[in-house]
């Protein structure tokens, strides 16, 4: 029973690691955000393979079955990653806000320039030739 969950954990962590690398290779994931996932995957892989470390973590925290310690570490890693991405999303939202403000200010600055310029648009040229 222990062996089977160990095998599943190793395969799952391996697939995660490979999937993250593949996403970076396809340029769908920036290295900046891949590193956290890779750290988590490597950590889980190590714990899945190295039973001794898992058992000592289980003893330290007071978990009866070592396999549950693996879930404990995995949940911890996920919480850290989610927090990391919340921070990243907050930064992106701040940046989008600044971009929207800059764009609105630029548009406002453009308005007097557009009305000051004489209205010789390209659309009027063909009309004039038809009339003539």
């Amino acid at each position: 029973m222990e062996n089977r969950i160990q095998l599943v954990a190793i395969i799952a962590a391996g697939v995660l690691l490979f999937g993250v690398l593949e996403l970076v290779r396809q340029r769908k994931l920036l290295e900046r955000y891949a590193l956290g996932w890779m750290c988590a995957a490597v950590l889980l892989l190590i714990l899945a393979i190295w039973n001794g470390a898992l058992t000592s973590i289980a003893n330290l925290v007071g978990i009866a079955t070592p396999s549950n310690a693996l879930f404990f570490v995995a949940v911890g890693a996920i919480i850290l990653l989610l927090l990391h991405f919340s921070v990243a999303v907050s930064r992106l939202q701040d940046q989008t806000k600044i971009l929207a403000q800059r764009l609105a200010l630029v548009e406002e600055r453009m308005k007097p320039l557009e009305s000051a310029a004489p209205a010789t648009t390209d659309e009027e040229q063909p009309l004039a030739t038809i009339r003539r």
């Binding site: 900046r32 891949a34 890779m38 701040d94 600044i98 800059r102």
Partner: protein, 253 residues
């Protein structure tokens, strides 16, 4: 629009008010034929004002997007304004505008070169004064890159570089994010563009702080190493004309 035979100097600057004015004035004094563009990467000090007063064209980014994005802004500007050459000069006064001629001579001597890079480590007359941690990182990158691109690269982090139109067009389309110089060498190699290094002298930083502190160095190193090795596994590491855009909307969930 500039009709041919022109050169643009791009000076990426982040909080370099203390030095960027001197860099711009030096460039204009020694090379009046070169247009100077300062890309202010969301500085919180007087960088933009100082650069404008010194007589440079200033593009001010609305917030800090990092050195890669700032330099790429310069590539896009150079491409859109039809410059034949672009030289990248750091805003901290490390690079000597007088040495621009060294880069230009190398490109004139071999017209097949797409990029000429000034290297601190090729000249035998000086020991570049940098912290040992930084130097170790540079040498690790140099070692790896030299083997990957099968050409001796001694100073892959040097930002003193001269590009021709092909290199400008490539990097305007796609340029790496952090420590972009290292990955840029790999990109040139994958696109079969030619580069060469020439020995130049560089000064120690004139003021301000490096964008890469010693604490962050290790983090950046790991990130660039990851980018290098994943880049190796890419068959076509960046988009060619007609390929999907580097940042594309997904077609499905």
């Amino acid at each position: 629009m500039n009709q041919g035979r022109s050169c643009l100097a791009v000076v990426p600057s982040y909080n370099e008010a203390a030095t960027v004015g001197r860099v711009v004035r030096d460039l204009q004094q020694h090379r009046p034929d070169v247009d100077v563009l300062v890309v202010d990467d969301g500085s919180t000090d007087q960088t933009s004002e100082v650069a404008s007063l010194a007589g440079a064209t200033v593009v001010r980014l609305p917030y800090n997007i990092g050195i890669g994005g700032a330099v790429q802004t310069g590539f896009v500007y150079a491409l859109e304004h039809g410059y034949d050459r672009m030289v990248q000069v750091d805003g901290d006064g490390q690079h000597d505008p007088k040495q621009l001629a060294v880069l230009e001579d190398a490109m004139a001597a071999d017209p097949s070169l797409d990029m000429v890079c000034g290297s601190r480590f090729l000249s035998n007359d000086l020991r570049y004064p940098a912290p040992i941690s930084r130097r170790t990182g540079i040498h690790i990158f140099a070692f790896l890159l030299s083997r990957i691109v099968r050409q001796a690269v001694s100073d892959p982090t040097s930002g003193f570089r001269l590009y021709n139109r092909r290199a400008i067009a490539l990097f305007a389309r796609d340029y790496p994010h952090d420590y972009p110089e290292v990955e840029a060498v790999l990109m040139l190699h994958h696109h079969r563009l030619k580069m060469r290094e020439v020995p130049v002298r560089m000064f120690t930083r004139g003021g301000g702080r490096s964008s890469i502190g010693s604490g962050k160095s290790a983090y950046y190193m790991i990130k660039v190493l990851l980018a290098l090795f994943v880049g190796l596994a890419r068959r076509r590491p960046v988009v060619e004309a007609g390929e999907p855009a580097p940042v594309a909307a997904p077609h499905s969930l």
